[in-house]
């Protein structure tokens, strides 16, 4: 469920494969751009600072996406872990333990998954349902700031920035 932080890397990776375009660039254009990508794979490195921990947590692994609704984040280091979302099914694997959840039974997670899947598939409605999204920049280098609409989600994720900033979700 650390999904929000996956956005920057994956977005960047996908973007490198896109042709250059030059007009006014906003959410509709970004959505159109992203909807052309049907699948993708990228490696990621994640750095996380949590106030109560004495050092930054680092992890790395692989992200996979396949339209319309499959999204997998596989952590290789420091320990093997896997978060897979297929449709409404969320599967968490840690070591030899696997746990399956219905995504809509955990609204917080559903919001984040919708945001990521929405961006990756270019589903503007999915983004706008849960976030106030501001897109700036150019097709080859854009930034999307998303602020959650729901107060409950905003309590643990204030803003997602992708892909220009590598900090991702900040709290």
């Amino acid at each position: 469920m650390r999904l929000p932080r996956l956005l920057p890397e994956l977005g960047l990776a996908l973007l490198l494969a896109l042709p250059l375009q030059a007009h006014a660039f906003g959410l509709p254009e970004l959505a159109r751009l992203m909807s052309q990508v049907k699948s993708g794979e990228a490696v990621f490195t994640e750095k996380r600072s949590v106030a109560m921990l004495e050092r930054t947590l680092e992890s790395s692994g692989r992200l996979t996406f396949a339209a319309p609704d499959t999204f997998v984040r596989e952590t290789v280091k420091p320990r093997p872990e896997k978060v897979a979302v297929v449709g409404n099914q969320l599967t968490l694997t840690s070591g030899n333990r696997t746990r399956t959840l219905r995504l809509d039974a955990v609204p917080e997670a559903a919001v984040m998954v919708e945001a990521i899947r929405g961006t990756l598939t270019g589903n503007r409605q999915a983004i706008e349902r849960n976030f106030v999204a501001t897109v700036s920049g150019q097709p080859q280098r854009w930034t999307m700031d998303s602020c959650p609409l729901s107060r409950r989600c905003a309590s643990w994720c204030a803003r997602c920035r992708s892909p220009a900033s590598s900090r991702g979700c900040v709290k």
Binding site: V50, L57, T100, R102, A105, K171
Partner: protein, 656 residues
């Protein structure tokens, strides 16, 4: 001398007649007294086997008192989402306070705060991750890494407040085991349907599945409390076994009353018609049937201690043929002109009684077979019929000959009836060919049309298809899916039963892992056996050892040991905690969830006394619709297993 002898015979006969009447009246009075004190029952368990096998016993038990039989599924439809969510919260609250429900779940877990605290305090006894390895340097390191990796995520928000007391994340491990995978969708803090158009609630009645009056009261309470909410535009949907059985009983009762009334009116009409409208004759004519019913009720009541409603209904129909006895007698014993009083009775006794007696014997032989049935309900029916017919025949033979020695006077409408029948007989031969053609057509239709033989038991179900559809929809939304299989284990005591459930769970886990079943519920997941708890407690190291291990494990980690003093203290407290038992969980929602899965019983009785029932398997994702048993012949599946397709049961509810 002769006159003297004749007089004595006459006096003796008169005395005998009076004696017969006195005996008969005494019998009737006794039967009325017994019938008045009889307990009438309506639950269907009397029509289930009385000496069930171990498998049947568990199933019957589920039907009578299992959680599946006590489920009430509630849907709130219409209005705005906010109105539905508010109604769900208020209704759940009202029902929890109402006292007729064991548990009411609507996704709102705020009332489980105390339980959460209780579980947290006992986490080292309850967490499946606790073993000797857990508190070694490596074990601590792995546990802390696991937990810290969740920080900064939605799951992390839950453990952040407790991470300094629980750095190895036992809370998470407990929750993983206890929370069901098939949770309903959440919206606004309550359960809603997958499409978001309904708020859904799940309640279990305190009353047994067999206690229909109790179930009816519980349903009435739901309606009444919902009515009091005044939720704008929101409508209430109620379904589940409780609503089905109460609804069916209503319907059966209504139909039985209607049919009985129609039948009664028809019989009285025909009798009045045939005996020329004489009320006295009518009363006399129904006497044998009335005596038969009374005798049947009294005999069943004495032999079984209660009378089933269905015995009364079917039994009365079966002994309805006793009306014939009266009709035969009243017509056949009619006196011939000039014959002395009582001649008709004498003649009937000599000529006709042997025939009636033969009919009585054959009927008794037929019904007596039911007496040996393994179903108490059918045995009741047999006894009722035998006693009823015998009483009716004896009333005809010995009482009629005294009170109406010369049959019924008058010919009533019989002449006109005869004339009508005569006219019909004239017309019927002319219909010979059309009737023959009709018969042929019917035979052809039978041969060519698809078989009308319907072997589907569900067609006997008085519940309508819309109700069944609604039930399926709500079940799916709540995730209370039909169970494919019940696994039952028995043991001498609570500890043994929980240990058995654990062992069964280990074998079921392999089936879950292989995908053969989707999941299962087990009491051992909520309450591990004392032996397991003891083992976990023994795995908790001494203060000095734990402190040293922790120091090493956190040496270059994100959480330094100096901040984890509360953890060390908690582990030391846990070392002195006594293992939890069912009794120590009283008053928490866990107790209700466990009571649904663990049954106290007398294990000495052998097979028919499960000390526990546990572990409902739900079919795997691929087998969901087929409701197949969980690999009954597989060596990995604990015996006994069997398919429970006739019952609808549901997984027990989440407890957080």
């Amino acid at each position: 001398m002769n006159a003297d002898a004749g007089g004595s015979v006459q006096r003796a006969t008169a005395l005998l007649r009076r004696g017969v009447l006195v005996v008969w009246l005494a019998c009737v009075a006794a039967a009325i007294a017994i019938a008045a004190r009889t307990h009438y029952v309506a639950d269907l368990s009397a029509f289930l086997p009385s000496t069930p096998s171990a498998e049947q016993a568990v199933l019957l038990d589920q039907l009578r008192s299992g959680v599946a039989a006590r489920l009430v599924l509630i849907g709130l439809e219409g209005g705005t989402p906010a109105a539905r969510q508010a109604a769900s919260r208020q209704l759940a609250q009202a029902l929890r306070q109402g006292g007729l429900f064991d548990a009411v779940h609507n996704g709102d877990n705020t009332q489980f705060e105390a339980t959460g605290k209780f579980l947290f305090e006992h986490r080292y006894l309850l967490s499946p991750a606790v073993d000797a390895q857990r508190f070694t340097v490596e074990g601590l390191k792995a546990g802390i890494d696991d937990t810290t990796s969740l920080l900064g995520t939605p799951a992390g928000a839950l453990i952040k407040p407790v991470i300094l007391r629980d750095p190895t994340g036992e809370t998470i491990r407990m929750a993983e085991v206890m929370l069901p995978a098939q949770s309903p969708r959440m919206d606004g803090g309550v359960w809603v349907s997958r499409d978001g158009q309904r708020a859904v609630l799940l309640a279990t009645t305190r009353a047994d599945g067999a206690d229909l009056d109790g179930q009816e009261r519980a349903l009435a309470q739901v309606r009444e409390r919902f009515g009091a909410l005044k939720a704008e535009g929101v409508t209430l949907l109620l379904t589940g076994p409780a609503s089905f059985s109460v609804g069916s009983r209503e319907k059966i009762k209504r139909e039985v009353e209607m049919l009985a009334l129609a039948g009664g009116v028809a019989i009285v009409g025909i009798l009045l018609f045939s005996f020329g409208g004489s009320l006295r004759t009518l009363l006399v004519a129904v006497l044998p049937v009335a005596c038969g019913v009374l005798a049947g009720v009294a005999a069943v009541s004495l032999a079984f201690g209660n009378v089933h409603g269905m015995t009364l209904g079917f039994g009365t129909t079966l002994i309805g043929e006793a009306v014939d006895y009266a009709i035969y007698y009243l017509i056949q014993a009619r006196t011939r002109p000039g014959a002395p009083r009582g001649d008709g009775a004498r003649r009937w006794t000599a000529d006709n009684w042997p025939t009636v007696r033969l009919g009585l014997w054959t009927s008794i032989c037929g019904f007596a077979a039911l007496l040996f049935s393994g179903f108490p309900g059918l045995a009741q029916l047999g006894l009722f019929s035998v006693a009823g017919l015998a009483a009716a025949a004896l009333t005809t033979r010995y009482v009629y000959t005294v009170i109406v020695p010369d049959g019924a006077p008058g010919i009533g409408m019989r002449r006109r009836l005869g004339e009508a029948v005569g006219r019909c007989s004239e017309v019927l031969p002319r219909l010979r060919w059309p009737l023959a053609a009709l018969t042929l057509a019917a035979a052809a239709a039978l041969a060519w049309w698809p078989s009308a033989w319907d072997a589907n038991l569900a067609s006997l179900n008085p519940v309508g298809p819309e109700q069944i559809k609604l039930d399926e929809a709500l079940r799916q939304e709540i995730g209370a899916s039909d169970n494919g299989t019940i696994v039952a284990v028995a043991a001498a005591d609570e500890a043994g039963v929980l240990a058995q459930a654990e062992a069964a769970g280990q074998r079921l886990d392999t089936l879950v892992a292989s995908g053969a079943i989707g999941g299962y519920e087990s009491p051992a997941r909520l309450l591990p056996s004392p032996a397991t708890q003891q083992r976990r407690r023994d795995a908790l190291p001494e203060p000095a050892v734990l402190a040293a291990n922790l120091e090493q494990a956190t040496a270059d980690g994100p959480l330094p040991a100096r901040r984890l003093q509360a953890f060390l203290a908690d582990v030391q407290t846990a070392r002195t905690q006594p293992p939890l038992t069912l009794a120590s969980l009283q008053g928490t929602p866990l107790a209700a969830a466990l009571a649904a899965q663990v049954l106290p019983g007398d294990a000495r009785e052998g097979a028919h006394a499960p000390g526990v029932r546990c572990c409902g398997c739900s079919p795997g994702p691929r087998a969901r619709s087929t409701s197949r048993p969980c690999a009954p012949h597989s060596p990995t599946c604990p015996a006994p297993t069997w398919s429970t397709s006739p019952t609808r049961s549901a997984r027990s509810t989440p407890v957080t």
